[in-house]
């Protein structure tokens, strides 16, 4: 292989590369203006080196090619107006482009004219020769000869033009190049996004260098009529051919320039690397073949085959290495999204607040995908979604049912126009329009739409590719996982808070209870209390009054937890201080009721039974403020309810209360309890009930108070075994001793 062949090979390769680029860019978005113009530019640019290669390799030897056919290669000159057009719309249309669109189209006309001229009129004499025929009819003959004369003059003029057409049109091409470079630079300066700028810089520099080299090597020498040394000229053109398309390929591969899809990028990398590889391989095989030939002095087919086999063996592992290398170095953009996902998932691992999650998502998408605006919406109500972390105070997304169901069934990111074409434009309220939404990413969790991402268009008119949508789908899954952990975190916080509160309530309740049972000559006592899981407002109390009397309280404040416990505590303080004043029972209850009614909110109250047992009189004076009737079981088994008193405490002020009175005889048993005991339910929703309670008391009544108490509790617990969520359970037993 000689230098000439090598040059032809490079021409061929760069021509094919340009064709391939043209194909790749066009196929990616056949309707996009930028893609059409860019691929046109590459296509025309590719014709140049291909023609040169063809001319150098095999056309040169063929003597009789008509010059119009050779001249048809001038079609490649359309590259220059294409470049001019490209410069005006890259990376996005310049403001003046829309005003002067026609101008950029008209720019094609001189080049087209030049092409027609050099093709049709390459050899004016030959064209005229076709026309020069005789006619037997004199008039027609005269007209024909007149026409012929005119044509001859025109062709003479064109022939004259043809003498220096290449110089003249080189000036036009040079002008195009200069304008194009100025416009490209102007556009480049206007880009603000740093990553986009980086991508575009490579392309602009590449094109500028490529075109610049060609201008220096060919255009300017043609215009000023200098003959550059051939090797210099060829080297410059070749360098230009490598740098120009190379920069565009590089931008495509490295930065997903023009959003070229993964497969196209891969094939681009492989084709180029394979071309270089095969080129190298052929070169070595040929050189080795001729070396061996010169060594052994004759041509040997055997040796050639041997060399090829050795080379194949040698190259196969190298090719694998190269393949790996290519993957590692060039297909690294593949990693862009996966690396992004990796870092994103690491980042959101520690996010437990929806607002923070939303702003992380927003930040990431804007930075990495060049999306102009990202809105993150989380579920607020039925098909209603609030904007989280929005810069704008936009309306919430209110969805129509059809659109909602469609998103659920779709499961994947989709373009907004898909939705508005299927349903009413307002199927999302005003949100889509308001946020300029182009892509909607549904966040689906347990068959429900937990949220949405509304993505506007990308900066600089980049489009969303299938790769983007696939990436967004994976991202959506990660966001859903993160949302779940936000929920779990919130729940655990809530639970912790509630548990702390319950511990407080339990502590308050325990603090209300007397440390020991009263000691009286004629009575014996027992008491039991078991708070529920949620802690209610139950409490009991024994208050010593002088030496012979004991106050007994059993009460149940409404509600649960800390409020109920506090209510009970307040009531206890009141009762204890009123008792010390030595008021009469009904006056005491009225005054407690007044105090509680005024000092608490309207819906909290307590049922309360207060009694005073006189050891000597063996009498109980009592006032029942709305509490479950205590049960008095006489020794003979007859039963009385202690009902006298008045309204529950704390609900309505200015109530009147009555005092009741019972005389105990030895063996009589009084049972005071709260509804948690009588209403304890078993797993079939049946209550323990007052009936069962009375029967059991009757059964156990001959035992000491302590025993009766524990037997009743045992019986209730056995009854309600397996039931969950019992209420507070309180039981106080007073038994008149049998002497």
């Amino acid at each position: 292989m000689n230098v000439g062949q090598l040059i032809d090979l490079v021409y061929l390769a760069s021509g094919l590369t340009l064709f391939m680029l043209a194909g790749v860019i066009f196929r990616e978005n056949p309707r996009g203006r930028l893609n059409i113009i860019a691929s046109m530019m590459m296509l025309f640019a590719g014709i140049g080196p291909l023609a040169a290669s063809a001319y150098g390799s095999f056309l040169e030897g063929i003597p009789d090619i008509p010059s119009w056919l050779l001249n048809s290669f001038y079609v490649w000159e359309l590259f220059f107006p294409s470049l001019l057009y490209f410069s005006a719309i890259f990376p996005e249309p310049q403001p003046f482009f829309f005003r002067h669109k026609k101008l950029f189209q008209i720019a094609f006309l001189p080049t087209v004219f030049h092409l027609l001229m050099v093709v049709l009129l390459a050899e004016p004499e030959r064209v005229l020769g076709f026309l020069n025929f005789e006619s037997s009819i004199p008039i027609i003959g005269a007209i024909l000869s007149l026409v012929f004369e005119i044509l001859r003059m025109i062709t003479a003029f064109i022939g004259f033009l043809l003498l220096f057409h290449s110089r003249f049109f080189s000036i036009i091409n040079l002008a195009y190049v200069i304008f194009a470079l100025i416009i490209l630079y102007y556009g480049f300066k206007r880009i603000e996004n740093p990553r986009l700028k980086q991508q575009v810089r490579v392309v602009i520099y590449g094109i500028s260098i490529g075109v610049g080299l060609y201008t220096l090597a060919i255009i300017i020498p043609t215009i000023v009529d200098i003959n550059l040394a051939n090797p210099v000229r060829v080297a410059m053109v070749m360098l230009g051919l490598v740098v120009g398309p190379g920069s565009i390929s590089w931008a495509i591969v490295k930065y997903q320039f023009l959003d070229i899809g993964l497969i196209a990028r891969k094939s681009l990398v492989y084709s180029i690397s394979t071309a270089i590889f095969v080129g190298g391989y052929l070169l070595i095989v040929m050189q080795a073949g001729s070396l061996i030939q010169s060594l052994i002095g004759r041509e040997s087919q055997m040796m050639n085959v041997l060399v090829i086999i050795v080379m194949l063996l040698f190259f196969q592992p190298i090719y694998t290495q190269v393949d790996d290398f290519v993957k590692r170095i060039f297909i690294r953009f593949r990693g862009d999204y996966s690396r992004l996902l990796e870092s994103f998932s690491r980042e959101i691992l520690t996010v437990f607040q929806e607002e923070k999650l939303a702003s992380t998502v927003k930040e990431t998408l804007r930075r990495e995908m060049f999306i102009e605006n990202v809105e993150v919406c989380f579920r607020e109500g039925e098909r209603s979604y609030k904007l989280v972390s929005s810069d704008l105070v936009g309306p919430p997304v209110e969805m129509e049912e059809q659109a909602y169901n469609y998103l659920i069934s779709k499961q994947s990111p989709l373009f907004a126009d898909e939705l508005s074409s299927k349903f009413d434009e307002k199927c999302f309220g005003d949100a889509l329009k308001y946020h300029d939404t182009e892509v909607i990413v549904p966040l689906i969790r347990k068959d429900k739409l937990a949220g949405l991402l509304l993505l506007s268009s990308k900066v600089a008119g980049f489009r969303y590719g299938s790769e983007d949508l696939a990436f967004l789908k994976i991202l959506a899954n990660q966001i859903i996982v993160a949302l779940e952990s936000c929920d779990l975190y919130r729940e655990s916080l809530e639970k912790q808070r509630m548990e702390e509160e319950l511990a407080v309530a339990k502590q308050i309740q325990r603090g209300l209870l007397p440390r020991e049972l009263p000691m009286m000559g004629n009575f014996d006592f027992a008491a039991f209390i078991e708070p529920s899981r949620q802690v209610g407002g139950d409490y009991y109390d024994f208050i010593p009054i002088g030496n012979t009397r004991t106050g007994i309280v059993i009460a149940d404040a409404s509600g649960k937890g800390v409020p109920a416990a506090l209510f009970a505590a307040r009531m206890q303080v009141m009762i204890q201080s009123e008792v010390k004043f030595g008021k009469r029972l009904r006056e005491m209850m009225a005054s407690i009721n007044n105090f509680l009614s005024v000092s608490t909110s309207g819906d909290s109250f307590a049922t309360c039974f207060y009694g005073e047992i006189d050891d000597i009189e063996r009498r109980l004076y009592y006032c029942n403020a709305g509490h479950n009737y205590p049960i008095l079981v006489r020794k003979n088994g007859s039963i009385e309810n202690l009902k006298k008193g008045g309204l529950i405490l704390g609900a309505f002020p200015e109530e009147k209360y009555e005092t009741g009175e019972v005389l105990f005889k030895p063996g009589d048993v009084l049972i005071l309890y709260t509804d948690g005991l009588s209403e304890a339910m078993n797993d079939r929703n049946i209550e323990y009930g007052e009936q069962r309670l009375m029967e059991n008391i009757r059964k156990f009544r001959t035992h000491p108070a302590e025993v009766i108490c524990s037997m009743i509790i045992k019986s209730v617990k056995q009854f309600a075994a397996g039931a969950d969520d019992l209420d507070d359970m309180t039981l106080v037993i007073v038994r008149a001793k049998e002497t």
Binding site: S558, G602, L647, I648
Partner: protein, 112 residues
């Protein structure tokens, strides 16, 4: 608990159904009552025919409803109180506070 409401001649009739216990359930009834007060509808009948049971929170809601209505010059009346709840009202002596009627019609008439 489920809650429906209707109106008859300017009197609101609330029809809770199920158990009036604590929690979000009860808040609905509470909020509903206060909504009517805000709308200046101050004559309310609560039809308890379909209420199986209520606990102390439930009673609290009735009490605060009554208090709020009365403080605003209105009235709350109960109708068709079931036996079980009647015994609860008896024990707590709330039966003396609430006007309770055997039918909704009677309750409505009592406002006249």
């Amino acid at each position: 608990m489920k809650l429906t409401s209707r109106e008859d001649n300017g009197i609101v009739i609330l029809e809770p159904k199920g158990k009036i216990m604590g929690g979000p359930d009860a808040t609905v009834l509470h909020d509903q009552l206060h909504e009517f007060i805000d709308q200046n509808k101050k004559k309310v009948v609560i039809d308890l025919a379909k209420v199986e049971w209520m606990n102390s929170t439930g009673l609290g809601i009735l009490i605060s409803g009554l208090t709020t209505l009365r403080n605003n010059g209105g009235e709350l009346k109960l109708a068709r109180v079931t036996e079980k709840i009647e015994s609860l009202l008896t024990i707590t002596k709330l039966i003396t506070v609430f006007d309770s009627y055997d039918s909704v019609e009677e309750a409505l008439k009592s406002f006249a």
